[in-house]
Amino acid sequence: MDNKENILELQNVQKRYKGFVLDGISLSLPQGYILGLIGPNGAGKTTTIKILMNMVKRNGGEVQVFGLDPQKSAKQIKNKVAYLGEEQYFYGNKTVAWTGNFVRSFYDNWDTNTFQSLLTNFEISRTKKTRELSKGMKVRFSLALALSHNPDLLILDEPTAGLDPVIRREVLELLRKKSKNEGKSVIISSHITDDIMRTADLVAFLIQGKIVLVSEKDELLSNWKRIHYKKGALSSDIVNSLTRRKDHAFGSSGVTDRYLELKDLLVQGITEGVVKIENVNLDDILISLVKGV
């Protein structure tokens, strides 16, 4: 990762609810990167994101977005942030055009031309009432609203939940373009790991209120592999270090998180055909982290 300036930093952030604790979250995001926040339902992804937006007050720790504390400077931060929640709420009896005008009045950098062209690209009728928009249309409309004030950071909380694959892909492509072409930073939270796989540069796993792993996605996928092996092909040290171990008719398998370190030790087995390496996806890694051995 280049030494780019962090636009977002969380240090030991805590939030306590009845039956749930966000337990000392620490994270940072350099400018121009896409961070995927992965975790099962109820892991604390939405709480973390809402703390960034000052929609939830933290109980402890430090948060800086563009060098500002959301609890003290929420208005300034929100002026530079586009937020898209899982559910889109608007004044249902108002039209798309009215809502655009209403939202515009809150931002310093609103660009009406961008808004109009996004509405056209997304095929959203300006005269339609927002309650008449489908779920997919609402997400597109939210994106149009979110992108029209030229935000430096996009925060998306489960944005593709409930969307059909075409719109999902479209949304993810747009995020990718914003990051690569315009240097915008993005945080996207999802339990659909495929979305993160397609878009993210960095991945953070949040499980039961704790960040258990943060890594660059490519490095993560290079290190995490499933190893299939015949009995006796691996040393007991290696076997014991594997998670999600399974025995089956053709041998055994397990997942390692330090493949690059073990690579040389596995070469002989691979050559002899008693060891095979399989790529894993983020789902496999999440399950390994949740369930362990």
Partner: protein, 211 residues
Amino acid sequence: MLSIVKKNMSYFIGYCGVIFTLTAILTLILGNENAVPLVMISGVLLFMLVFGPVFFNEQYEEKHKAYYFLDTLPVKASEIVLAKFGLVLVTVVATAGYLLLLFSVFKIAPDDWALIRSYILMSGVVSLFFAALSYIGIFSLGYTKFAIIVMSFFVLLGFVPIFIMKFYRDNLDVLIENILTFLRNVNWLAAIPLVLIGYFSLMFIAIKIKE
């Protein structure tokens, strides 16, 4: 903040239009001899002018999860609260002013005029504090819970006449005279600043709750 005022204003303008027209027509039709009931009704209408828009607007905000929507925008909680309190204050001042202007056409004794003025201003004060407490209640408990409490309060208020008839039956005239004397003797020059201080203190509490 202005766009929030503008959005909420539609409720108040609609009610204002109806009540301003209604009171003007009633004043023309009923005339001088019915001044007392007309003034009494106007005080209640002034209260309704605040009660209706405040509650309908908040119901609308809840239905559309508007506070969640606003929370995602660069607007401070204090601006949202200020917009709401400001609008109520302007509405009450404008309506009380309009009613006093309207009733100035009546040919009545100065003492009675002081009573009318005091009654209208008192209705305005009650409306202001009712709105302020309603916003505090809604921000603390949510619209649905607070609406149930307010409805229960109005049902209990229905028992007040029964209570008065039971305990003040023989002294009803005295009770009414005491109320009228109180209204005649209110020093509004001193009371209005106190009312405003109280109202803005409640606004400050509402901002703290909303934050």
